[in-house]
């Protein structure tokens, strides 16, 4: 396999793996693990008549995902117990939200840190409560602390001193320095209660957030995983009348129309996700650059296409902050190393 295309195809169309030879399987597993999609893949291929070694490997991946889910739900409960007494219902984001709400995007998905969104004016209270509950700063140097608090959309990451788990407390979904300004108050106002003291974003906002996460975070690392989330969510939400209209409205409101349209086009191209053509718009030439970057893995699971990776790294920072500020930030980080 020369890139991760076969993984994308296997996820979208599991039947495609029935013609796999031994080497194809070994490569598929290596690529899926490198992209951290092995759990998702294991559930997608669960009922197929596959060779015995593959059946066992996929079983193990499902057991691993199930364990990760249990841990993620426990972290949600720990956060709820800490934050609920403040009268705040945190909004769960990304993997934890998918797992807690039982959304198809959560099936087999790796859940990393716990990400929550709270109102900005309650940030200090939440921070104090988490520090009291056993969380410490993961980065406690003065620059990081100042940088996060002044320029970022989240608190500096907190890590629990006994459990080792990490929590990211957001007050919005893009850094205030970014060109686009999502409407954090609207995200909170439209959120949905899923359990006493816990909320998730509305379906349309969930897609908008997944799109910001896809393009603004890092060098598109984990891009395939994030796009797979979008596929799973869209296939579920698209059944609701007016969903596409709502998505259009919310994407405009959060100044995220272009990124959302791009995410829809990429999902359509990689996973044949059903999307609203008017919202997705026409294919652009640069869409292919995104596809090339997302599939940049060889059959050994090694990252390929270094120029493309570097380009997207610079681009993601360019989206986060103006050029002069970026130069200063990278200079400070480089000197600290």
């Amino acid at each position: 396999m020369k890139d991760a295309r076969a993984l994308a195809t296997a996820l979208a169309d599991p039947i495609s793996t029935l013609t796999f030879g031994a080497d194809d399987w070994t490569s598929l597993l290596a690529i899926a693990r490198a992209e951290r999609l092995d759990g998702s893949l294991a559930y997608r291929l669960a009922d197929l008549p596959l060779p015995a070694p593959i059946v066992r490997t996929l079983e193990d991946a499902r057991a691993q995902a199930e364990f990760g889910r249990t841990q993620a739900l426990w972290e949600v409960e720990m956060a709820r117990r800490t934050i609920a007494p403040l009268g705040i219902a945190p909004i769960l984001l990304k993997g934890s939200a998918f797992a807690f709400a039982g959304l198809p995007a959560g099936v087999g998905r790796l859940v990393g840190d716990l990400d929550i969104l709270v109102p900005r004016d309650r940030l200090d209270d939440v921070e104090a409560a988490l520090l009291m509950a056993g969380f410490d700063w993961a980065k406690d140097d003065a620059y990081s602390q100042r940088y996060y608090r002044r320029w970022m959309h989240e608190l500096p990451p907190l890590v629990h001193r006994d459990r080792g788990s990490m929590i990211d407390v957001h007050h919005t979904i893009l850094p205030p320095t970014a060109r686009r300004t999502p409407d954090a108050a609207a995200l909170i106002a439209d959120s949905i209660e899923i359990a006493p003291g816990l909320r998730i974003l509305s379906p349309a906002d969930m897609i908008v957030h997944a799109a910001t996460h896809l393009f603004a975070d890092g060098d598109l690392a984990g891009g395939l995983r994030n796009l797979w989330d979008i596929d799973r969510l869209l296939r579920l939400f698209a059944a609701t009348p007016d969903f596409w209209l709502q998505l259009d409205t919310r994407a405009r409101r959060h100044e995220m129309l272009e990124p959302v349209a791009l995410a829809l086009r990429l999902a359509d191209r990689l996973f044949a996700t059903p999307v609203e053509p008017r919202l997705a718009g026409h294919d652009r030439i640069r869409d292919t650059l995104f596809i090339r970057r997302m599939l940049a893995r060889d059959g050994w699971g090694r990252p390929t296409r270094p120029a493309s990776r570097l380009g997207f790294y610079i681009r993601s920072h360019g989206m986060r902050m103006p050029p002069l500020m970026l130069a200063k930030h990278l200079w400070t980080k480089a000197r600290a190393q």
Partner: protein, 288 residues
Amino acid sequence: MHSFAVRIGRISYRIGSPWAAPIAALRRLYADYPAPEDGIATVTARIGPPRPWRRWIRPQVAIEGDHSLPDTVPMAYDHALLAIEMAMNMQVALGERRHLLIHASAVERNGKALIMPGDSGSGKSTLAALLGERGWRLLADEFVMIDMATGMAIPFPRAISLKNSAIAEVEGRIADPARFGPYLSNTPKGELRHLRPNAQAIARMDEPALPALILFPSYGYEAASDGVSRSELFMRLTEGSTNYVALGQPGFDRMLQLAETVPSARFAYPDSDSGIAIVEQFCAEAGL
């Protein structure tokens, strides 16, 4: 990529390297091992240059694969075979979910397994290597795999890592030079030479054994022995297990069963012959 596929017990590896020589050395070391079941390797371990130019200019090897740890220090190219072995270990240490891993060596007799946990330098590998040549079957040198479903010890007869003074000691007792890997000097682990387990250990790698005795050896002290309490046994086994936490409650249950049912002791020994004598005495008492 140069590659080699091999099955060791229940693990089917694909091993890759951009250099030909380390793979050739690995092939010699694992000659006579079976190919993966159905030809499908499910675990990838590899080495590669930490920076592109390190493939040619003062080459270095980084340890990589399906699972890797951030910030592992690259090694000198001369130690590439060791790096491959470490990459293979890392895949099991971080990725294995079907078996509870015990950091120990193990040998079998009459269907019963003697498990010897211990840190580097405790002599567990040397003892297992020597016992494997005198009436015992070698099961494992580094990881003992406890089947999560049955509690049996599953063989994982990787090449044995002999270190420092153990090299000459074992060379003196095993006549066949083809079973030894190249001599690696000044590695991060000291002087090192790999030893292929004997034909019996390889031929019977699919035969499990019942965990029957756990002994903690300490090499380099006057001969002595002492009991190990159930609670200490549990603590020491969990400390040395890289996947105990990731297995969750079933891992806890499996570990508890081991600690509650298998007799255990510790012993110190000044040299291999007295170590073997102490082991044999313990085994006679425990009915192995």
